[in-house]
């Protein structure tokens, strides 16, 4: 073996040659891009204006017609790609970057609505990024800070409340004042929640809330007849029903002699906790609503709600206290009633053999009341002028479509959209639309809502895990909440 050492120059020379060779080899290995022209036919709905002469006075009426059209081009989707995180609809020169967290089947419906818009407006391309909600803000915030944020994106009403005063969102009053989105057509509680200092900062796309999703096979097994409810269940009826829907491995119900709580085969109820909503049914919010920024979680109504949730797991044995994948248990026939939000409607599309039903959210407290939230479309304040008009048009288009409600199962906040005949055909929507009459008014009297939840929820979880008594857990939570409230409300 040669003992001659390698000089620096020789090493650098050989490394450069090797690097260049590797680069060339890798470039040659790139997959060939083959362009394929797609010819696609699709059934679309078009709004057609016709002039009709009535008693000598021409009237313009709008008619919705369905047409089969041939649409072709590289940029169009033949069918919305269900796995694509990034997709583009349209092939126009105006490009709108649209970000949302709708990664489920509901997101496919949104892609369809966007595609309709680009068919009606061929100058526009909508590039959609669907980012899981858990990562959405990890991406959105740095993008906005870097000036590389989207042109059009979604916030929930809770987040909108925190973003509104920061001066980064556009005032959308014009859309409503022009009549394109009539104010009085929207649920006023929800619209008011999207306002900041009298201006509308986000357009609510939906009005989703809690639903009890049912396994009708298990209801049948328990001898319960499924019929449309007139009123939500009260506390007693709720416990009786969930008890009847819970079986251990020996077929016994909770409370029966020989029931084994360590070997439950089918749980009656699952899906998380609703301490906050039950407390609001008792007339108590986690923070005072009069602007005094006081933590109220140690009040009787809140502790009662937490105690009830704790007892569902440790006293009544109708809900699992373990780390329980409730949706998987539902699919496996091991859960009778699954509490979740409106969006869960889309889950059933993947399980066509499942027999589902819906019930009202129960009234555990003294009054009926449900939580409510919305996906809101917002525009950044620094949106380029040439995109502004197109984004506003897109907003009107999306918020006037019935598809988000009828296909994605998301209740609409607009009365006119709710009247669309396809809404009534959706098996889950009518009940939810009726339930909107009991929406608890959200408490926006304090900022830092996310931070308050962040210190409250772990203590709620500690009580639900039977580590602490509910009152002790809430005292510990209040001790952390109050300094945050003092800091945020002072600012």
């Amino acid at each position: 073996m040669s003992t001659q050492s390698l000089s620096r120059r020789t090493f650098l020379r050989r490394a450069t040659v090797l690097g260049a060779g590797l680069t060339a080899a890798l470039a040659g290995c790139q997959p060939q891009v083959v362009e394929v022209e797609k010819i696609v036919t699709q059934e679309v709905e078009k709004i057609v204006k016709e002039t009709v002469v009535v008693e000598g006075t021409p009237q313009v009426v709008e008619k919705v017609v369905k047409e089969t059209v041939v649409v072709e081009g590289e940029g169009l989707m033949a069918k919305a790609d269900e796995s694509a995180i990034v997709s583009a609809a349209g092939s126009g020169s105006v490009v709108i970057e649209y970000w949302n967290g709708l990664t489920g089947e509901d997101g496919i419906t949104m892609l369809k609505i966007c595609q309709q818009f680009t068919e009606q407006n061929p100058d526009v391309t909508i590039k959609t990024q669907r980012i899981p909600w858990g990562n959405y803000f990890d991406k959105l915030l740095p993008a906005i800070v870097a000036g590389a944020g989207p042109d059009f994106f979604i916030l929930h009403r809770g987040e909108l409340h925190e973003w509104k005063p920061k001066g980064v969102l556009m005032n959308l009053d014009e859309l409503f004042d022009s009549g394109e989105l009539p104010r009085d057509d929207f649920n006023q509680v929800i619209l008011e929640d999207c306002m900041h200092e009298g201006h509308i900062m986000g357009v609510p796309l939906d009005s989703y809330g809690p639903v009890l999703w049912l396994n009708l096979d298990l209801l049948e097994k328990a001898g319960i007849t499924y019929e449309e409810e007139e009123e939500p269940m009260d506390r007693t009826k709720f416990l009786e029903t969930m008890t009847a829907l819970t079986w251990d491995v020996n077929g016994k119900h909770p409370g029966e002699s020989g029931f084994d709580p360590d070997n439950v085969d089918i749980w009656g109820y699952g899906g998380g906790n609703n301490v906050g909503t039950f407390a609001q049914q008792n007339g108590v919010y986690s923070v005072s609503t009069d602007g005094s920024c006081k933590a109220q979680v140690t009040e009787e109504g809140f502790v009662d709600a937490l105690t009830f949730e704790r007892d569902l797991r440790w006293k009544y044995y109708v809900q699992s206290s373990g780390d329980f994948a409730a949706d998987q248990a539902l699919a496996a026939g091991k859960l009778s009633v699954f509490y979740n939000g409106s969006w869960f409607y889309n889950w059933f599309k993947e399980y066509p053999d499942f027999r589902p039903g819906v019930w009202y959210f129960p009234t555990i407290g003294q009054n009926k009341g449900v939580w409510n939230d919305s996906h809101c479309h917002v525009l950044p304040l620094d949106l380029e002028a040439d995109l502004l008009d197109w984004c506003k048009k897109l907003t009107v288009h999306i918020h006037s479509s019935h598809l988000w409600a009828s296909e994605a199962g998301m209740p609409t906040p607009r009365a006119s959209v709710a009247a669309h005949p396809q809404i009534a055909e959706n098996w889950a929507l009518p009940m939810q639309l009726r339930q909107q009459a009991w929406i608890n008014k959200p408490n926006r009297s304090y900022p830092c809502g996310t931070e308050i939840s962040g210190v409250l929820n772990p203590e709620i979880a500690a009580a639900l895990n039977n580590e602490k008594e509910p009152l002790q857990a809430m005292q510990d939570a209040a001790a952390r909440m109050q300094p945050i409230l003092d800091r945020c409300c002072r600012a």
């Binding site: 920061k166 780390d323 994948a325 929820n457 580590e467």
Partner: protein
């Protein structure tokens, strides 16, 4: 040369004030600097600049979104001193780091000693023990999340075969951190094993021969020869493992998460400082305070590292 001959020589040409000798010296050194230039640029851009920017952020009340964050001086650091969540997560982080590092180092050393022996198939064992290190943290965490599931996990199933009831690995407060350590141990002991193998191969074999001749048994050879001569390697492993564990995020965040509604976990028992920092900065819109937490943690890491160097830094020579 005579003075006349010296005067007759033309004056040496200078270039930017440098004479020929200096230019030659620089030309000889230039490849060295060119060689480190890419790393230096990357280091300045991706390490030094973020650290300085982080320091600037920690002096402001910045909610990420606002364009003009107000300057608040050392208020974030003052708040930190009275923040019970900071002290709680710091205690938990130190506990987690201690139990994880001790177990990882012990396991790494034991497997290194075993696979250092000359037996058939030892190469395969080294590969198997090292393999989890090549997996991403998220994969390790998700796998162990399901293994330790109270109702459906394989671990509880195996325990049930011995008549042991369901253990709430990721729910019982006392078991939370040890469960995270188990996942971390499985995913990372292969790396210290590799380092220890390199250290063991540096120990002169004649020392063992001499000790054997003098009648030393295996245990004595380990305590008197192996361990003392492995001290530099041990120091390296301990320092790097502690630095890594004190900054742990992936395992607790992925295995248990922040929104623990569906995992049934509770409280802040699994929160490390970095989990708290991430939550504060990105979800509670307090990037300024999050930066202050980061610097405070950096101080803790530096202090612990200095202690380790003090205790184990002395080299031993036989």
């Amino acid at each position: 040369m005579t003075s006349t001959e010296l005067e007759a020589q033309p004056a040496a040409r200078t270039w930017f004030g440098m004479d020929r000798q200096e230019r030659q010296r620089i030309a000889k050194q230039l490849p060295n600097y060119l060689f480190i230039l890419p790393f230096l640029v990357a280091f300045l851009l991706f390490t030094v600049y973020p650290v300085l920017f982080g320091a600037w952020m920690s002096l402001h009340d910045w909610d990420i979104i606002s364009k003009a964050p107000p300057m608040i001086g050392l208020a974030n650091y003052e708040e930190l001193l009275h923040d019970d969540l900071w002290w709680l997560t710091l205690r938990q982080t130190l506990q987690y780091a201690l139990q994880t590092v001790l177990s990882v180092v012990s396991m790494g050393l034991v497997t290194a000693l075993i696979t250092f022996q000359d037996f058939r198939g030892r190469g395969w064992f080294r590969v198997i023990y090292y393999f989890p290190v090549t997996m991403s943290v998220a994969v390790v965490a998700l796998a162990w999340q399901w293994l330790l599931n109270t109702d459906y996990g394989l671990v509880n199933y195996a325990l049930s075969l011995f008549g042991i009831g369901k253990v709430r690995w990721l729910q019982a407060p006392a078991l939370m951190l040890p469960s995270l350590s188990i996942a971390s141990l499985w995913g990372s002991f292969g790396f210290p094993m590799l380092i220890f193998l390199a250290g063991l191969s540096d120990i002169p074999p004649h020392l063992y021969d001499a000790a054997q001749v003098d009648g030393a048994n295996g245990w004595q050879r380990f305590w008197k020869i192996t361990l003392p001569l492995l001290r530099p390697t041990l120091l390296f492993v301990l320092v790097t493992q502690f630095i890594g564990r004190l900054q742990e995020f992936g395992i607790p965040y992925t295995m248990v998460g922040i929104t623990t509604q569906y995992t049934g976990a509770s409280g802040f028992h699994h929160w490390t400082v970095i989990v708290y920092l991430f939550q504060t900065a990105w979800h509670w819109y307090r990037m300024g305070y999050g930066s202050a937490l980061a610097f405070a943690l950096a101080v803790v890491i530096v202090v612990i590292t200095m202690i380790q160097f003090r205790l184990l830094g002395r080299r031993l020579q036989y």
